[in-house]
């Protein structure tokens, strides 16, 4: 009964015809022109490579973008790659400890092609009530075939259902600072027989 009422109330939420027209018009206009908003400083030296990356990124329609990190004075102190949720696929295996497989959808594209190894910069494990049971950073692990398998400690986790929530990965390449790759990833897993 309550759920029927919920459905009835929610179905009243609709877009107006004007809103639909506006969305179609704006999306059609914006889609071909959408570009990354910044360039990772370390890549500027290889201008041609950067241009190639941009061209390919646009062709593939990727959503991630580089952004400068500034200190309180406004000085650029690094960079971060944002909005990468759909560019890395995450799965968890709980058979022998916890192993997170991070598969890059386009490993031959920047920034992923620069990485030798990948770690988790920020994660937490929550139980089904939403209580945080563990968290921190992990890895890095070597990238092979566009994938990195990162081990996570499972100490203190008993039998039950959990969710791994990752806010950021860290991409490592030789002679360069790790690059934070931010987004939002969630994976549910179950532990038993512990």
């Amino acid at each position: 009964m309550r759920l029927e009422k919920l459905k009835e109330s929610a179905k009243k939420i609709k877009m107006t015809d004007e809103m639909k027209e506006r969305i179609i018009r704006r999306a059609t206009e914006a889609a071909p022109a959408k570009k990354p908003r910044g360039v990772r400083p370390a890549l500027i030296a290889a201008a041609i490579a950067v241009l190639t990356c941009f061209g390919a990124a646009l062709a593939a329609g990727r959503a991630g973008l580089f952004k400068d990190v500034k200190d309180w004075k406004g000085t650029v102190v690094g960079s971060v790659y944002e909005n990468a949720s759909e560019e890395i696929e995450v799965s968890v295996s709980a058979e022998n400890g916890l192993a997170v497989t991070a598969a890059m959808v386009e490993p031959d594209m920047a920034p992923y092609k620069e990485f030798d190894s990948l770690g988790i910069d920020s994660y937490k494990i929550v139980d089904m009530t939403g209580a945080a049971m563990a968290g921190g950073s992990a890895g890095p692990a070597e990238i092979s075939g566009g994938k990195a398998v990162i081990a996570l400690p499972a100490d203190g986790l008993g039998d039950g259902d959990y969710m791994l929530v990752i806010d950021a990965f860290a991409g490592y390449s030789k002679a360069d600072q790790p690059l934070r790759v931010t987004g939002g990833w969630e994976c549910e897993f179950a532990l038993s027989g512990r």
Partner: protein, 161 residues
């Protein structure tokens, strides 16, 4: 013959626009934000031009993308608190008139329960389809629905009855 970008976007908005808007509104709590989110989803739809296996695959892709857009917006909002005036405008753009409080109760639940309840009880998606869209196991969806129903009932009884 392949349809143009505009035709594809138009068809997707016509077929799934209201569903996406409802989902984004329930996630974000404001009409303007929901419109922005749907617009971003349509930009991704046009840019990525995915080849869908069937209508179910297309619907799941749109729901997944909308969920991710909303999460990005919520994350941005938590890091960049809005000035008071904008916040008040956001609050004023609440649920539609005639809502008995059940929708407000739903919108006060944690995101994962809100999403699962909306997709199942409002959009009438099956558990397997929700699992596919949210990239979780069917048992996790069932768990979210069970817990979500309990939380919704509790919230509604406490604050709206």
């Amino acid at each position: 013959m392949e349809r143009s970008r505009a035709e594809r976007a138009e068809a997707a908005v016509r077929d799934y626009g209201d569903m996406l808007f409802r989902l984004c509104f329930i996630m974000l709590g404001a009409r303007a934000d929901a419109e922005d989110a749907v617009q971003d989803v349509m930009i991704s739809y046009i840019q990525k031009a995915p080849d869908f296996e069937n209508a179910g695959h297309e619907k799941a892709w749109l729901i997944t993308t909308a969920k991710n857009k909303c999460r990005d917006m919520l994350r941005f909002r938590s890091r960049h608190p809005q000035p008071d005036t904008e916040y008040l405008e956001t609050l004023s753009a609440g649920p539609p008139d005639g809502d008995s409080g059940i929708l407000e109760a739903l919108m006060s639940l944690p995101e994962k329960y809100r999403l699962a309840l909306t997709l199942h009880y409002v959009e009438e998606l099956r558990v397997g389809d929700i699992a596919r869209a949210l990239r979780v196991t069917p048992s996790a969806v069932k768990m979210r629905l069970k817990k979500g129903r309990e939380l919704l009932e509790k919230k509604y009884r406490e604050e709206y009855m």
